[in-house]
Symmetry: C2
Subunit: 326 residues, 2 copies
């Protein structure tokens, strides 16, 4: 089996350290691995497969090494500074930032949904926004079968989406990472505000969902909210289909969908919940029911671990698909 | 000024004790006041206007007293046992439970919205569900102006909606009041599940919104979620209007709406938040923006104190309107 040379940028952060863990768990065929970071984190130790590695400081020459795939999880500024440079050296970059996602020549990939887009890459593949990833894993099989016309998203997002600072604000009742207290609060504010009144996070959900589902005609709106949950984002999704359907068929489609686990039995108080899904790889769907306010509509409750499927796992899955194609 | 004889049922509970506090704050013209409760709470002391009252045990004869208005906040079972009995003795019952809300001969009242319905009462007036109250205060003036066609509700509900037990589960990390841990979690489960896959809470929002807005044609769907917030419910509301509108007019309508305060400036991180609105009387509206996925749609974020405007305050406001009519 061929082995690959990897670089991980930002391996000491919440997403980066989870990438390292998942590469181990899934036995990714690694020949050599390099851990790179900005000055601040350089010199830290990262353990991978029972071996300690010193994190090297990033510079223009970092990408002269023999690297096949570089997993970028060090923030938008690092992606901007080094993303295209790495790609220009023949490295395939899997970028976790929002920087390249909407570029027409950059595939935006959720392997269960559009793995075929990977082969169109020109050196950079973008990992979508966390909330979008879990949404499209659930929505893609439904779109294939019933054709989605419109989506209304309301999110319940965990603080780990903001990294260790978010967790600290929640656990200690601080107001450092967020504009306001998150403990015992609900903040309708994820990422910064745009002139149209939406937040960047809301526009990411709208734009990225369309790009990944390859359907610019889907009407989408979103309200993104941070809640006092540590891990796993929950989404309330209202979907209008073009085609009529039986609710039993919606169940069947979801039960057979790749990456989806249906957990739905009100009588037994069974539905996806953040605390259960922390650390899990699948996207969990429940509260599946017809929306009686529409001719062809449903409501869904969709929960996934925002650090794993919403970021690190999805990036590693992209890398796995990439080497399948090589 | 005429003064009235009141009875408060359930005055030691979260809603009941807030009713007592609000009667004091708003200087309700009280001649005599009686505090009534089931055996469990009888004998407790309630302080009202610097005077201690002993809570009397409820029985069939409790309503032979000279009472003008009885505020019921002791749960559905007590309302069922004593509501109609009290009304039959000429007492006007303002009932906080869901028991009578959908009865065609019982007005369901939010004073800012449909105070006129009060005069149609036959001895019982129902106080609506907490989430519905705050929703309709914001939606009524918009319905008047732009005619609402469809509503999609997603809620972020505080644990105080479940009384002291909910607060205890959140603060201590217990699993007693709820089916699952609420700390660091989001539960898509408020009240019990029905056969159609919705919860009772979701159906209350759907049915009560239509009744209060006096429009059975409005299409409504809802997903109700409990979050780790102590006081104040937040709602993500997506609204489709029949008429076209300028977003500036939506702002103007809301800014001039009775009981509404607009708090909306993304640049300054200004939006309604549960922790700010705890203890406040108004319904706070923010994140007001056009929904680009519809011809005539908007998104709103609506927050109010579920114990005050969502329950106790609304009941006292009904009593105030009632005596205006007497």
């Amino acid at each position: 089996m061929k082995k690959y040379n990897l670089a991980v940028l930002g391996a000491t952060g919440l997403v980066g350290s989870t990438i390292v863990k998942i590469l181990e768990e899934r036995k990714f065929p690694v020949e050599n691995i390099y851990f790179l970071a900005s000055k601040k984190s350089a010199g830290s130790i990262v353990n991978f497969q029972n071996k300690d590695y010193v994190v090297e400081e990033l510079n223009e020459k970092s990408f002269d090494k023999d690297i096949d795939i570089a997993l970028f999880a060090a923030g938008g500024a690092i992606s901007e500074k080094y993303g295209k440079l790495a790609a220009s050296k023949g490295i395939t970059v899997i970028d976790n930032s929002s920087l390249f996602r909407m570029d027409t020549d950059v595939p935006l990939v959720v392997p269960e949904v559009n793995a075929d887009s990977i082969k169109e890459n020109n050196g950079i593949i973008a990992n979508p926004n966390c909330t979008t990833i879990q949404a499209v894993v659930a929505l893609k099989p439904l779109d294939d079968k019933f054709k989605i016309k419109r989506i209304v998203y309301s999110t319940y997002q965990a603080v780990s989406g903001s990294g260790l600072g978010g967790l600290k604000d929640l656990e200690e009742g601080n107001v450092e990472c967020y504009a306001h207290q998150i403990q015992f609060n609900a903040l309708p504010h994820v990422d910064s505000f745009l002139e149209n009144g939406y937040t960047k996070e809301e526009m990411k959900m709208i734009d990225e969902t369309r790009k990944i589902l390859k359907n610019e005609d889907i009407k989408i709106t979103a309200t993104c909210v941070r809640v006092p949950v540590k891990y796993a984002h929950s989404l309330s999704i209202n979907v209008e289909f073009e085609k009529p359907f039986d609710i039993e068929d919606v169940y069947k489609v979801l039960e057979n969908a790749p990456g989806v686990i249906v957990r739905d039995n009100g009588e037994e108080n069974l539905y996806p919940m953040a605390i259960d899904i922390e650390g899990k790889d699948s996207v969990y769907v429940g509260r599946i029911r017809k929306d009686f306010s529409l001719e062809n509509g449903i409501n869904l409750w969709v929960v996934a671990d925002n650090i794993r499927k919403g970021a690190a796992l999805n990036a590693v899955q992209i890398a796995e698909k990439l080497i399948d194609l090589k």
